[in-house]
Symmetry: C2
Subunit: 185 residues, 2 copies
Amino acid sequence: MSAGGLGDMRRSSTRGDQLLFLTDEQLRQGIELMFFAYRDFTSDPDRILEDYAYGRAHHRAIHFINRRPGVTVAGLLDILGVTKQSLNRVLRQLIDDGLVAQEVGERDRRQRHLRLTEAGQDLERRLSEPQRARVRRAYSEAGPDAVGGFRKVLEQMIDDRVRTEVLGLVGGSRRGGDNDTSGGA
Amino acid sequence: MSAGGLGDMRRSSTRGDQLLFLTDEQLRQGIELMFFAYRDFTSDPDRILEDYAYGRAHHRAIHFINRRPGVTVAGLLDILGVTKQSLNRVLRQLIDDGLVAQEVGERDRRQRHLRLTEAGQDLERRLSEPQRARVRRAYSEAGPDAVGGFRKVLEQMIDDRVRTEVLGLVGGSRRGGDNDTSGGA
DNA sequence: TGAGGTATGTCAATAACACTGACATAAACT
DNA sequence: AGTTTATGTCAGTGTTATTGACATACCTCA
């Protein structure tokens, strides 16, 4: 059973497989590695958020508003991939708590541009600090070459359709990519 | 905690960090890359699960029961890091739906060893297929060296305390191939 | 100016998935 | 026999998501 129907996807020749590291087992290990790494990766801010009675949704909103100050609600909606009702509940809290400020758009006054207040930036710092520490440590331990490979694989893991857009958003890719920091789509 | 403004974040790292490509901006890019890659990474099985009215919790249970056939309930609880009440609801469904089978332990008859039935294995295949395809493609595009770096960084991203355990669980690390398939923790 | 679309916000209902606490049963250990 | 362990279940709660419907303000275009 462990050999299963899909077991022979890339197992035509033993030698070819090993050269490409693409045995079924290797792929499954990659999947589990993603699971465990991401699990621990998100555990740091989760603990901090408890003190604020916030959840991951708040963290994500704070993170991306910080990364793209002035982003519109629609822009944030698009990045996070949630419904406006979901985002609104979170945003409502953050605004009421004085962590996020809204600015009416100059060109289009229907739009609300979002920014972190001082307090919002403080919380963002506290949330991202342990994550940056974790990434920093992992990068240091693994070394510069490994970091390059890490980023390369992760970039390829992103959906083809959105990769260019996302990498432009993330910034710092080898390829230039289009930069749309304004908040559109 | 330096609660400085947002503006000077990206040059808040030390000189030593910069030598190792560890500017604040680099770290933040790593964080976002994790976010987006994992987001797309989990989107594949999510779509399939909709057809079954199952969620991610079911997927995780199925995945790990498949990886470690004969795992006990307590073992699965430990891997997934949830409460038994949470797991039980999911497990109940999977057992009732005939995807998971229980076996009373021989040595300890209180224990229930879990296995996927034929139907369970079929679903596991369907769920993991697109994820393996995604990882396979990413690995191919990035190349063997990058894959090594990817794994190296991801392994370091895991909590120190559980890294050895998890990597033994995942298997295939550079170190020996001791497999703990029995289901213990 | 009036029509229609856009950006945002809100109300209500629902679902998935996690939590805590309490309790039950069977089996093992001492 | 008494206690602990492994499992299972009932009840209640919370967070985060969903869909659908609807309101308001504003922009655009004919």
